[in-house]
Structures are given as C-alpha cells and as structure tokens.
Amino acid sequence: MAATALEKLATWRVRGTRASEQVVEQGIIVLEQGALKRMGDDAWAFLEQLALASLDIGRLDIADDCLEQLTEEFPGSPRVECLKGIRLEADDKPGEALNFYEAALREDDTNIALWKRQIAVLRGQGPQTIPRAVEELTRYLDTFYADVEAWIELADIYSELNLYALSLQALAHVLLLASQNPFYVLRFAETAYTAGDIPLALKTFLRVIDMDESGPSEGNATKRAWWGVKLTSSRLLSSSNASSDSQTLAPSAEHLKLLDELATERLAGSYSTTSADRQARGRDVVLAWLIGRKR
C-alpha cells in the first residue's frame, strides 16, 4: 500500500502536479504505515510536498506536523522559510505573512521562492496593494528575466486592470522566451483583440494556425484560433477603418474574404460529426451563427 502511494507521490513531485487532495490522501497512508523512516533522503521532499498540499486544502494540523519535522532537520533552510511563510498565509493573516517575507528578504534578497510569495500576497490583498505588487514583480523580472510564469502573471495583472497595451508588452517577452508554445501566441492574439488592435489579432491568430505542424488533425490551439480568425476577418471586412496601435497592416480585402470563408468551413467542420447519433454540443447554435454572419 505504502509503496504504490510513494510511487504516485514521487510522480506528482517530479511533474509538479497540484493534486492536493490526492496527495494528502496518499500522504496520510504513508504516515500511518510509518514508512517515513524507510524513505531515507526522499522523506524530506515528501514532507515538503505533503505540507504544501495540506495547506492548499486547509488541513493545517498535518501541515504543522510536517513543518515541525522539517524545521528540526533543516534549521536555516530557505525552502523551509518559504513553507513557514505560506503557513502564515494560510492563517489568513496577510500582514504578518508580508512582514515575515520582507524580513527574510532583507537577509537574503535573492531567494526566488520568498520573493514570488511576497508578490503573490501583495496581489491577493486587493486593489490597494496591486501597484506595489506590480512594482515588485517588475523588479523581480528585471533581475530574473527568464521566468515565463512570472511574465504571464504580470500580463494577467495588467489584463485584469484593463491595461491591455502593457499586458501585450509582457506577453511579448513570453513569446520570446517560449516561442514554440501556441497557447501563448493564442493568448497574445486574444489580448490584442480585446485591446482593439484587430489587424494584429488577425495576424497572430493566423500565426497560431501557421505554427501548427500536426497535419490533418489540428491542435487544440488551432481550433481556438479559427474562432479568432472568423471574428477578426469578418470585422475587418465590415468596417473599413482598421486602426492598429501597433501599425500592423490588415490583409487585402480579397484575402480577408478568403480567410472568412476558410474559417467558416473549418469551424463548421469542427462541429460536424460523422456518426449519426452523436452530435457536437452547441452545433446548431454555431452553424446558425456562422450562416447568419455570412453576408
């Protein structure tokens, strides 16, 4: 029993899966069977994983237990400091947690985990502290440029505040750092569309489709991109002024028409099924909308 639990926990640890309830379930099995001593050095990584998972679902008792054992073994460790900070956050005392993080950062200002937790707490506290969160995050990214997750977080904050131009700038860095990921390009396109830069959005949606190398069976990002192409191309066809903040040129009217047709075909194709008894949900709505927009 404990062996399979340990295996599952190890897989989740390696992949960074956030299956907190299951981790706690399996973790309790391991603890009850006293398998901790047998694990040797892996025991500490397991305790850290269990502590985080139990804090995630609110089992503070288990978390305290793990934390105690970890502090005993690794008194000055930065990783354990971070866990202590998260424990304070779980108590719903953001002020205390912030003080803790700031004190710890004064001692060691390069601890990435602590810095990111500080930014997360600042963001979580609401509109009052968001400017400070953004400031800290920008400073963090100035030092640790290659952190894609952090750039995405910044783009997310800006989007939430409706500052789409800044969000696009942050997403630009994401694209540079992870240029092969179609979902980030899709996000860039959708943010551009929301920002009102329709030609840029169209080009970027097309870029998602362009980068798809999976042959006849399209990737999921491509399927979403066809929606974007349909919306943007029909909009560009109907309105003659295509102002673009990024000075992107819209394709010619002929190409726009062809793109509109192509997108309609692909979307209708996605919702058509070959088997008679299974229909894609929302099929009728989609087809009606597609036909309705075709002028």
Partner: protein, 263 residues
C-alpha cells in the same frame, strides 16, 4: 616464437599480494576520494541581486536576437525592445555598481591572485587535483593475471605495460595494465556503492585534467561586463538588420496551406 599458454607458471603469491590488493586498494581509495571531495568542496558563492541581474543582462538580448530572423514579435514591439536594450547597454544600466563614471581610470583586468573569491575557486580546483593524485602508487612490473579469453596482438601494448617482451602471449596482463583497467573500469562499482553523483568518477577527471583548464575556467568569472555590454550593442544592431516578423505574409501561407490559394 610464441610460447604456449601453459608455459608460464605464476606464483600464487602474486595473485594474493598484487592482484587483489591493487583492486581492493583502488576501490577503497575511490571511496576515500569521494568523501574527501565532499568535505573539501566549499558551497557555491552567493551572488547579490545586483550581481545576478548584471550577469543575466546579456541573456535578454541573446533571447531577443535568437529568433530575430523569424521573430514572434511584431515590428513595433521588436524595435522598441531592441532600442531600449541598446540604450541600457550603452548607459550601463545593468552594471551592478551603476553606470560607469567617465572620470574613472581604465579598469585593470582583475588579477586572479589578489581577488579573494577567485582564489577560493582556484584552490578548490587544485585540491581536487591533489585528491586525484592519491592513488598514484608505484606499481612494480609484475605479470599479474591471465585473461580467460584470447586477444589479438594489438592489445599487447595496452595490456602488458612495463613488461615489454615479444614472446609472451597477450593473455598475460601486467600489474600496471591491471591498474589502468581498474582505473577506467571501476566507475560502475562506484556507482553501485556511492550512488550516481560520486566524486570518484575517473571519466570526469580526464575532462578537467589539466590545471590549465581549471585556471581558465576561473578567469571567466569577474569579466568586464561593461565591455561585454558594449559588444552586445553591435550584435543588437546586426540582429535588427536581420529582423523579420513571423507574421509577415502569414495570411498567404495559411490560405495556401488549406488550398484556398494556389501555391
């Protein structure tokens, strides 16, 4: 005339006092080296926030330039990013001690002997070298073992180090050669005993064998970032010349891909 395999009779004392001791001692010395290295190695130096920032500043422009010929960024974004990096490098914004003042005397390249951090790094390397020298014992030219399988004459020079005779069958291995075979072959045994990341691995030693290599690695440390940044400015300009947006002409490519427009 090659002698037949049975004509050499080895004293069993050779087996007891040369063969087994060499193997046993090498295994033990390997384990000793592993633990001594662990004790001697000092933890990696902590860098301050500003130092990390300076070190990674070049990374930003390298990332930008890496994809410049088929860039995911539209022209306005690329150009503004390129320009801001260029100005930052020009004015030394990323330097950890702040932008250089013009009145400074030209900086002398940091002398590794006087820089204490560097010294530690070099000492560490040298200590590691010494530890490697521990098992270099003098080995007498005994004929140590007879291989159970025959080999061609080409192996004679490898297996009979120190006992150069023309007539002896290649199956007889000298103790010196046995030492070398052990030296290269015990990695597997070390991996079993010490786990994967052991410091007794001889394959890694050969890669860093010359003290020269260690010294040059250390000198890469306190580089003059200012000069590097200035050089990077030229690279940025070059990349901007090569720049092309991946989204250029994308509508035609997509239409062709799906057959709406003839290729």
């Amino acid at each position: 005339m090659s002698s037949s395999a049975a004509s050499l009779y080895l004293d069993p004392q050779i087996r007891d006092w040369v063969l087994f001791p060499i193997t046993l001692v090498m295994i033990l010395v390997g384990i000793l080296r592993h633990y001594v290295t662990i004790l001697l190695t000092s933890p990696p130096k902590k860098l301050s926030r500003a130092a990390i920032r300076e070190q990674r500043a070049l990374l930003r422009s390298q990332i930008l330039r890496a994809t410049s010929s088929n860039s995911p960024l539209p022209p306005s974004y690329y150009k503004s990013l390129s320009a801001s990096l260029w100005h930052a490098f020009d004015s030394g914004t990323y330097l950890k001690d702040g932008p250089p003042k013009d009145s400074d005397a030209p900086t002398t390249p940091a002398n590794p002997l006087t820089n204490p951090d560097q010294m530690e790094g070099m000492m560490d390397g040298m200590k590691k070298q010494l530890v490697m020298m521990v098992p270099q014992m003098v080995i007498m030219g005994f004929v140590a073992i007879k291989l159970p399988f025959p080999l061609t004459l080409g192996f004679k020079s490898m297996l009979q180090r120190g006992v150069e005779t023309q007539d002896m069958d290649v199956r007889w291995v000298s103790s010196l050669s046995w030492y070398f075979l052990n030296f290269f072959g015990l990695n597997g045994v070390y991996r079993l005993i010490l786990g994967n990341d052991n410091a007794a691995d001889s394959s890694k030693d050969l890669a860093n064998s010359s003290p020269f290599a260690a010294a040059t690695q250390q000198q890469a440390g306190p580089q003059d970032y200012n000069k590097l940044f200035k050089a990077e400015k030229d690279n940025l300009e070059l990349a901007e010349g090569l720049y092309s947006w991946a989204g250029k002409g994308v509508e035609l490519r997509v239409l062709q891909k799906y057959g709406k427009v003839a290729r």
